[in-house]
C-alpha cells in the first residue's frame, strides 16, 4: 500500500453548503487533517438589526432552505420569549405537528438522496433510478408526503409563512388534518420499506467508534422524545441547562489551525443531531422506533458517528407515530380560530429547538417599538465542526492502510453522516481558506 | 335565455383546422413567405382578412392573407419573425403541418364598394403584405376598377421583397408603381421610407380616389396628414390596423381600440369611422 496520501476534496458533494477535506501524509506520517468551510459568509446577525420583530422569521428562515422551519420556530420562540408572548395549547400542538414534518422531510432527503448513494457505491441517486426504481420511488413518495405535510401547515414546503409570533395566520381544517393523518398512516409502510433497504446495505456502514459527548434538548414535563420543547442536556451529565444560559453550553473558542469558532462543553468537542437526541432520549421513543433501532444494532450510548443516519431512520418511524397521535389529540379538542394579539415591548429572549441536524439556538433583543437591536445564533453544524475534526483525527490513522481512495471515501461518508448544513453555520463561523 | 338551445352542432370557434405547408422561403433577412393549403375545406376569404396561425405549443398569431382569393390554390402568408409563434412559423418547411383558424375579420377591403373607382395603395414596408391581396385581386379583375397606383416606401434595400412581382407591376401600363428607399446605414426594421413624398406625384382626382393605407403605426400619422392636405375625404381612406390579439373573434378584449375591435370590426377600417376612435392612430 502507498504510504503517501494527498486528499483534497474541494467541495464535498451531497451536503448542504460548501465544505472541504484536506488530508496529507508522507510515509504513513500524517501531516495534515482538516475540515474546512469556504462557504461565503452571510452576516445574518448584522442584517436583522433595525427590522421589526414581525419580520425576523421571514429573514432568518433564509439562513437555511432545508431547515427553514426550525429556524422559523426557533426565531419565533425567541421573539415570543423576548416580548413575553404566550401561545395557546392549540398553537403549540399545531406547531409541533409542523415541526415534525421538517424532521421527516429532511431525514428522508438525507437518507434517500444524500447518504444512500454511498451505501450503494453510486455517485448520486440518478444512476440508482434505473437500478433500484422501486426504492427510489418509495423515497420520493415519502419525501412528497413530508412536503405536503409542511405545505398544509406552513403554507409552503420551504420558508413557512403561516407561523407568526403569537400563533398562526391560518390553520388547516379538521378534515384536512384527518386526511393528513391517513396519509401519514399510509407512509408508515414506506418508512419500513426504506428501513429494510437501508438494512440490506448496512454492512457498508464503517465500524468506527469514538467516545463522544452528545448534546440535545430534553423534555421532562411531561417526558417526551422532543424536537420542540425542553432544556439543554448532555450525555456527560444529567443536568438540564435552560436555554437562557446557552452560552455556557456552547463556549465558542478559537483554535490555532483555524479561525473558525468551535464549540465545547464538558470536553474538547461534542456532537448534536439525531444520534445525540437518540442517546439522550432513547427511553422515550415509541416501541416500533426502538424495534427499528434494534434491527440495526443501534443501542443507547452508541458512539459511531456513521450511525447518525440510522438514528434518522429510527426517528422517522417515531415521528410518524407521534404525529398520528398528536393529530388525534388536536382533533379531540376541536379546532378553533384564534386571533393573534401582540403587545410590543422591549426585551431580550432566547429560543431553542432541535433542527433535523441538531440543537438550534436563536437570541434577540428588541427596543420598545419591537425593533431588533441585536441577534445571536448557534447553529447545529457549528457545534459539529469540531467534532468532525476530532473524528477525522482518530479515524485517519485507523484506516490509513486502506489507501487513498478508501480513506477519502470514508471521510466523505463521515462528513455526510453528520448531515451538515454548512450554509447555516457560516454566518457565525469564522471562515478559513486553505488553498 | 337560450338555455335549451342545442349547441352541439356548432363548430368550436377556437379549434384550428389542419393545414399543410406547400412551400416556404425567406424573402429577405426577416420575412418568410409561406404557401399553405387547408387539409379539408379550402379557405374562402376576402382580401384584407386574416387567419390565426397555430403552432402547437407555441400559440397562435394573427397573420393577414397576402394572396388574392382570385388565385385558387391555397393562400399565402408573409411572416416577420418577432416572437414565439412567428419564430416557430419560420421553422416550417414544405410538408409540415400547422393549424389555421379563419378567415377572420369582418372588415375586409371594400372590394365591392370601390368598383369603378381609382385606387391608390400606400404601403410602408411590410404593409405591402396585406395590400398585395387586394392589389392582385384588382389586377385579376382589372376591368372592375379605375386607375391603380401603388406607392411603396421601404427603409432600406435589404428589406424589399416580392421582387419579381414588383418588377411585373413596374412594367405594366395599367399600374402606376412608385417606390422610395431611404438608404440610411442604420436600418431599423420598424421605420418606413418617406412614402409621403410620393403622394403629390400621382395625378388623380384626389376627391374621388380610394386610398388604402397600410404600414407600421408611425406611418399613419404622416400619410393621413398628407392626404388631408390634398383634401382627400376621410370616407375615401381605408387603413389597416394592428393590435395585440388573442382570440380573433371579438371576445378576449386585447385588440379593442375604444369601442372598436380590430378583429371583428377590422382589420381594415374606413378612416371616417375612426373619427370617434381617438386611440386608433
Amino acid at each position: 500500500m502507498d504510504k503517501n496520501i494527498k486528499i483534497d476534496v474541494h467541495y464535498i458533494t451531497r451536503v448542504e453548503g460548501h465544505g472541504n477535506i484536506k488530508v496529507s501524509a508522507t510515509d504513513g506520517k500524517i501531516q495534515e487533517i482538516s475540515w474546512i468551510v469556504p462557504e461565503a459568509p452571510r452576516f445574518f446577525e448584522a442584517m436583522v438589526r433595525g427590522h421589526s420583530y414581525e419580520d425576523i422569521q421571514t429573514i432568518v428562515s433564509r439562513i437555511c432552505g432545508i431547515c427553514s422551519i426550525s429556524h422559523s420556530f426557533t426565531a419565533i420562540k425567541a421573539v415570543e420569549n423576548a416580548l413575553n408572548i404566550e401561545v395557546s395549547k392549540q398553537t403549540d400542538m399545531l406547531r409541533q405537528l409542523l415541526h415534525y414534518s421538517e424532521q421527516f422531510q429532511s431525514h428522508t432527503l438525507h437518507i434517500g438522496y444524500l447518504a444512500a448513494p454511498d451505501f450503494f457505491g453510486a455517485p448520486s441517486v440518478v444512476p440508482l433510478v434505473p437500478k433500484a426504481t422501486d426504492a427510489v420511488k418509495t423515497i420520493i413518495r415519502a419525501h412528497r408526503v413530508a412536503n405536503e405535510w409542511s405545505d398544509l401547515l406552513g403554507g409552503r414546503t420551504t420558508h413557512p409563512i403561516t407561523i407568526i409570533p403569537g400563533g398562526f395566520t391560518t390553520i388547516p381544517t379538521e378534515k384536512q388534518l384527518r386526511t393528513l393523518q391517513d396519509t401519514i398512516r399510509n407512509t408508515q409502510k414506506d418508512i419500513n420499506t426504506i428501513a429494510e433497504v437501508v438494512l440490506s446495505v448496512a454492512k457498508n456502514i464503517p465500524n468506527f467508534e469514538r467516545d463522544t459527548e452528545y448534546v440535545s434538548i430534553k423534555q421532562t414535563n411531561p417526558p417526551e422524545y422532543t424536537f420542540y420543547h425542553g432544556d439543554i442536556a448532555s450525555t456527560d451529565d444529567g443536568k438540564l441547562v435552560p436555554v437562557k444560559n446557552w452560552h455556557k453550553v456552547t463556549n465558542e473558542y478559537v483554535v490555532d489551525q483555524s479561525t473558525a469558532k468551535w464549540t465545547k462543553w464538558h470536553r474538547d468537542s461534542f456532537m448534536v443531531g439525531a444520534l445525540a437526541r437518540f442517546n439522550n432520549n432513547y427511553d422515550l421513543l415509541t416501541d416500533n422506533a426502538k424495534k427499528t433501532a434494534q434491527q440495526f444494532g443501534l443501542k443507547k450510548g452508541c458512539c459511531n458517528p456513521y450511525m447518525n443516519t440510522i438514528a434518522q431512520v429510527v426517528e422517522c418511524v417515531h415521528i410518524c407515530e407521534a404525529a398520528i397521535g398528536l393529530i388525534d389529540k388536536i382533533l379531540t379538542k376541536g379546532l378553533v380560530s384564534e386571533k393573534v394579539k401582540v403587545k410590543v415591548r422591549s426585551g431580550k429572549g432566547a429560543g431553542v429547538t432541535e433542527a433535523p441536524r441538531g440543537m438550534l439556538i436563536h437570541e434577540y433583543e428588541f427596543d420598545k417599538n419591537g425593533k431588533c437591536l441585536a441577534a445571536d445564533m448557534c447553529i447545529p453544524t457549528n457545534c459539529n465542526h469540531a467534532n468532525i475534526q476530532k473524528d477525522m483525527e482518530k479515524l485517519v490513522p485507523e484506516i490509513i492502510g486502506e489507501g487513498q481512495d478508501a480513506v477519502r471515501q470514508k471521510l466523505e461518508m463521515l462528513v455526510r453522516a453528520y448531515d451538515p448544513c454548512i450554509s447555516c453555520s457560516t454566518h457565525l463561523l469564522n471562515v478559513e481558506f486553505v488553498r | 335565455m337560450g338555455q335549451s338551445c342545442c349547441s352541439s352542432m356548432k363548430r368550436d370557434i377556437y379549434l384550428p383546422r389542419p393545414a399543410t405547408v406547400k412551400k416556404s422561403r425567406m424573402m429577405n433577412g426577416t420575412e418568410l413567405y409561406i404557401h399553405i393549403e387547408m387539409d379539408e375545406e379550402p379557405l374562402d376569404f376576402l382580401p384584407g382578412q386574416f387567419v390565426e396561425v397555430s403552432i402547437a405549443g407555441f400559440g397562435e398569431a394573427p397573420i393577414t392573407i397576402s394572396s388574392s382569393p382570385t388565385r385558387k390554390d391555397g393562400f399565402e402568408l408573409v411572416v416577420r419573425k418577432t416572437g414565439n409563434v412567428t419564430n416557430a412559423i419560420h421553422k416550417l418547411k414544405g410538408g409540415d403541418k400547422l393549424g389555421i383558424r379563419g378567415p377572420l375579420g369582418n372588415g375586409a377591403y371594400p372590394v365591392e364598394q370601390t368598383k369603378g373607382k381609382d385606387l391608390v395603395f400606400i404601403c410602408g414596408g411590410i404593409g405591402l403584405v396585406p395590400q398585395r391581396s387586394f392589389i392582385n385581386y384588382a389586377l385579376d379583375k382589372r376591368a372592375d376598377y379605375g386607375k391603380i397606383s401603388i406607392l411603396l416606401g421601404t427603409k432600406c434595400r435589404d428589406q424589399r421583397f416580392f421582387h419579381s412581382e414588383i418588377a411585373n407591376w413596374k412594367t405594366r401600363s395599367d399600374v402606376t408603381f412608385m417606390e422610395t428607399i431611404d438608404q440610411a446605414d442604420n436600418c431599423w426594421l420598424d421605420d418606413v421610407g418617406v412614402v409621403t413624398t410620393l403622394i403629390p406625384k400621382i395625378d388623380y382626382d384626389f376627391s374621388k380616389s380610394i386610398f388604402l393605407v397600410c404600414g407600421p403605426p408611425v406611418m399613419y400619422k404622416f400619410v393621413l396628414l398628407s392626404l388631408k392636405k390634398e383634401n382627400v375625404p376621410p370616407e375615401n381612406i381605408y387603413v389597416n390596423l394592428e393590435r395585440k390579439m388573442k382570440c380573433g373573434v371579438g371576445k378576449c378584449g386585447h385588440c379593442q381600440i375604444n369601442d372598436k375591435y380590430v378583429c371583428i370590426d377590422g382589420p381594415v377600417f374606413r378612416y371616417s369611422d375612426l373619427a370617434s376612435v381617438p386611440e386608433a392612430i
Binding site: 448584522a46 432552505g65 448513494p117 440518478v126 403554507g155 391560518t170 469564522n430 | 405549443g57
Partner: protein, 252 residues
Amino acid sequence: MSNKPRVAVFDFACCEGCQLQIVNLEEEILDLIGAVDVVEWREAMSEQSSNYDVAIIEGSITRPEDEERLWLIRSRAKVLIALGACATIGGINKLKNNFDLRDVKKWVYGKDAEKPHLNTELTRSVAQVVKVDYLIHGCPIDRKEFTYIMRCILTGKKPEIPEWPVCVECKLKDNRCLWETGQTCLGPIIRAGCGARCPSSGFRCFGCRGYVNNPNINAAKDVIERYGLDVEVLKRKMNLFGSGNTQVTANG
C-alpha cells in the same frame, strides 16, 4: 453520449432552498432527468463536469472570488438561468447593503473582522454580474413556474412571466385582501407568478419576486397614509428582498 441538453446546477451565497425545490419536484424530477442530462449538481450528486449547455445559478455574489467563478460558468454555458431571489434580485443577502460593510463584519466577526478571507463586498444579483438568459423569481422559486420555464427552454420558447402584480393572483385565489386585516402587504407592487402563495396563507407579501416593471411606489405610500400606517414600516418591508432596486430584467 445522449444529445439531451447538459444541465449543471451551481450555488453561491444562499440557503439552497431553491435547489431544494428541484428535489421537491418529487415524481416530476424523473421527467426532468428524462429530458436533460444533469451533469453537475453538488447538493445532490458527486458527478462534476465543465461541459454543459445550461447552467442554473442559485445564490448571490458577495465576494470577488465568486465573481470569477461565475464568469467562468458564464463562458462555458450557452444558457444561464438565475434561480431564485438571491440570484435574480440579490435576495435577503442584499439586506447587508443597507449597512456599512465594515460594521457588518465587525458585528459578526469581532476582532477578526478585517482578516482577508472574511472579505465581503456589496451583494449583487447574478444579473448584475453576468448576462442572464432567464430569471426564475421567488424565495424559494415556485416549482410549477420552474418546470414551465425549463420546458420553454427545452423547446426554444420564450416563457411568459407575469408583468402584473401579486394582487391579480391573490384575487383569483378568492382571498380577502390582507390590508383589511391591518397587514402591510406588498402585493400591489410585486411581480406575480407565485400564485399569491403568502397572501393565500394569510401572510403579507414581502416581495421575494421583486418589483413589477412599473411599480407605483408613490401610490403605495398614499395607501399607507390612508390606512394610518407608518411609511417607514413600508420602506423597511420593501427593503427585505428588493433593497430599493426597482427593476431587474433578463436579456433572454
